[in-house]
């Protein structure tokens, strides 16, 4: 009995870890370019939609989902940046930035740095995986 239970667990482990390796493989394909987008919105929401017992990811997910399906939400692009693998950078910035938008542009610039670091962490994981064991 113990052996059967163990075998089932082992199969699940193998299959689950296999999926994780697949996921990493997909990430490598997408990592060739980097896109950073910053929006501002006047979407009406209740605080309880977003925050429940601190920060609840599921609630935030719902807000994000709602934003994408409700076409009447007023969402304005503040900036968009695309960084290609060959370091080509394209940026689009909203016209006539207000003072609040200027703050968001600063946020956008910082997010480009963070995005690069995030991608770097992922690439390091991949190189660690394929480099020979020490």
């Amino acid at each position: 009995m113990a052996t059967e239970v163990n075998n089932e667990g082992k199969e699940k482990l193998k299959s689950g870890l296999g999926k994780l390796f697949q996921k990493i493989g997909q990430g490598i394909e997408d990592a060739a370019s980097l896109e950073v987008t910053t929006f501002t919105g006047s979407f009406e929401y209740k605080v309880s939609d977003v925050v429940k017992n601190g920060v609840d990811k599921v609630q935030i997910e719902n807000v994000l989902k709602n934003l994408t399906v409700q076409n009447d939400s007023k969402l304005e692009l503040v900036a968009f940046t695309s960084v290609k693998i060959d370091s080509d950078v394209s940026t689009i910035v909203k016209k006539d930035l207000s003072q609040a938008d200027e703050e968001l542009l600063k946020l956008h610039k910082d997010m480009i740095t963070s995005a690069k670091e995030s991608r770097q962490a992922f690439i390091k994981l991949v190189t660690d995986l394929i480099s020979p064991a020490k």
Binding site: T3, G16, T40, F43, V50, V51, E103, L104, L129
Partner: protein, 532 residues
């Protein structure tokens, strides 16, 4: 039917939920360092303990004992783990903190508390640990320095590694100084009668020291070769009260406490608990080293409350050898053994691990007893080094639940479960990120900022009426989260790499050991998170 990867994550998360918070350890260390009185332990969540935590955290930040960036990084492990980490490092006497200098007179800070804590452990401090550095501190340090035959500054730093301090003592004094005499008024008749074998003890000393030494001649004539009523008790009384002898008694008690054999008070009074701890230690080492050392080899009752102890043999025999170069650590070696074991054996091993975890979680709590702190030693570095000596047997001891080794295993595996708790948390965090997204949200009133990070690095942010303050808070949060993410992904990478190389060994216990191994390796290499 949950997805197999989701199944792994939920199993990891349910393992995580089974780990207790480290509050008892934190509270004990706060009392040891004088941030709270011992009686505050009766109210672990009380105001005194809360105040002690805040005061310690402030002192830690101002201490200069640790780099600011390191403190900042470690805060990301959560407040309890942060406090536990630094309190343990400060109270560690295996590889403890080396002070850059002695405090100045009148100073009361973390360094002062550390000096007083170490003196207190060695029975050289009578005042509160939170006293300012003054004449009593200097007197205590000078006594310690006299014993260690070095400067006060060197002596207090040598207590960061009791083992090395002991080596120094063994090299600095004649061997006969380590034949310790002590009076134990509270020891039971049962212990006394079991340990009454002075002739055998004397014969053993003859073998160790040679028959012709004046020291041994004296002992034979006045102690071992006499009837109990004619033993020279005035000699025993004199020796047992000598400073160095008393200091050695305390040192031995500290050694036994450090290794988990003794859980009584550190009071230099070797009663039944201490006597039993010697017997337990010998039994454990006999089993581990496949030897048959008899208790009479090093301990005997002489009459009128007096005992004699061969500390020379005890300290030398059970000293930790230098870590063999190139040898993998205990958990790495055990991971391989677990992976190679058959399914039924792994299943029993898993059940035993659960049992160990339950017993460790319900371990004795620190408490006040007779005005003293009944404490637990939480450091494990010495134990891990010792465990290397018999690592090949540990798996079997767990499976067979070997009684003589169970206390040792509980202490050893406490380290495993601590690393596992942190490693699991990193693993789950890292894998969740790899599964697609990480959302960081900052809200204040009706202001809100949400950023979504994807595996390939893409980031989308949406701001709702966000002021410059909310933007600043959001960027801070993002930096912290990315720091954690960086660490978590490195841990995940280390774990996956091991798994890729050992896919045939995969099983749940093997994964747990691999997580511990990965977390320990990354922690050791990761001095601190990226500096922003």
């Amino acid at each position: 039917m949950p997805d197999s990867l989701e199944w792994i994550l939920s199993k990891c998360e349910s393992e995580l939920e089974s780990f207790p918070e480290p509050a008892p350890e934190i509270n004990q260390h706060l009392v040891e360092l004088g941030y709270a009185p011992a009686h505050a332990l009766s109210f672990p969540e009380g105001r005194l303990m809360q105040k002690a935590r805040d005061e310690f955290e402030a002192d830690l930040g101002n201490s200069d004992l640790f780099p600011v960036e390191e403190l900042r990084m470690m805060r990301r492990m959560g407040k309890n783990r942060f406090l536990q980490h630094y309190l343990r490092r400060l109270t560690d006497i295996d590889e403890g903190i080396v002070l850059p200098g002695l405090p100045s007179r009148g100073e009361i800070n973390l360094a002062t508390r550390l000096v007083h804590y170490r003196l207190d452990l060695m029975g050289l401090w009578e005042m509160p640990v939170n006293s300012s550095f003054g004449t009593s501190s200097v007197v205590g340090l000078e006594r310690l320095a006299d014993f260690g035959k070095c400067t006060p500054f060197e002596a207090i730093n040598q207590l960061a590694d009791i083992e090395q301090f002991t080596v120094r003592l063994l090299a600095s004094y004649p061997e006969e100084s380590f034949i310790v005499t002590f009076q134990s008024v509270r020891s039971s008749d049962d212990s006394r009668s079991k340990l009454a074998h002075r002739n055998s003890f004397g014969r053993q000393l003859k073998q160790d020291f040679g028959e012709r030494t004046d020291f041994l001649k004296f002992l034979q004539q006045n102690i071992f070769n006499r009837r109990e009523e004619t033993i020279d008790y005035s000699y025993l009384a004199r020796v047992s009260k000598s400073d160095f002898n008393r200091f050695l008694v305390r040192l031995i008690q500290v050694h036994q406490w450090q290794e988990g054999f003794y859980n009584g008070l550190l009071d230099s009074d070797l009663g039944d608990l201490s006597l039993k701890s010697f017997v337990d230690a010998i039994k454990a080492y006999n089993l581990a080293d496949e030897k048959d050392v008899k208790i009479k080899r090093f301990l005997t009752y002489l009459g009128q409350d007096y005992f004699m102890f061969n500390a020379l043999f005890f300290l030398k025999e059970y000293m930790v050898e230098h870590e063999p170069a190139g040898q993998e650590d205990v958990w790495t070696q055990l991971a391989t053994q677990v992976g190679k074991a058959d399914d039924d054996s792994q299943s029993v091993f898993s059940q035993r691990l659960d049992q160990l975890q339950r017993e460790i979680s319900h371990n004795k709590q620190p408490e006040e007893r007779r005005g003293l702190l009944a404490r637990i030693y939480y450091g494990v570095k010495k134990l891990l080094k010792k465990a290397l000596r018999f690592v090949r047997k540990i798996y079997r001891w767990v499976i067979d639940k070997v009684a003589q080794m169970w206390s040792f295993l509980k202490k050893l595996f406490a380290d495993f479960f601590e690393n596992l708790a942190q490693g699991l948390s990193m693993f789950v965090n890292g894998v969740r990120f790899l599964l697609g997204r990480k959302i960081i949200a900052t809200s204040s009133g009706r202001e809100s900022l949400i950023s979504k990070f994807q595996l390939d690095g893409d980031v989308s942010s949406i701001a709702f009426q966000a002021s410059s303050e909310t933007v600043r808070l959001h960027l801070d949060e993002t930096r912290n989260t990315l720091g954690e993410m960086n660490f978590s992904l490195t841990v995940v990478g280390m774990i996956l790499k091991t798994i890729m190389q050992s896919l045939s060994l995969i099983s749940w216990p093997f994964l747990l050991f691999t997580i511990v191994k990965g977390f320990r390796q990354v922690s050791a290499n990761f001095k601190y998170y990226k500096t922003y």
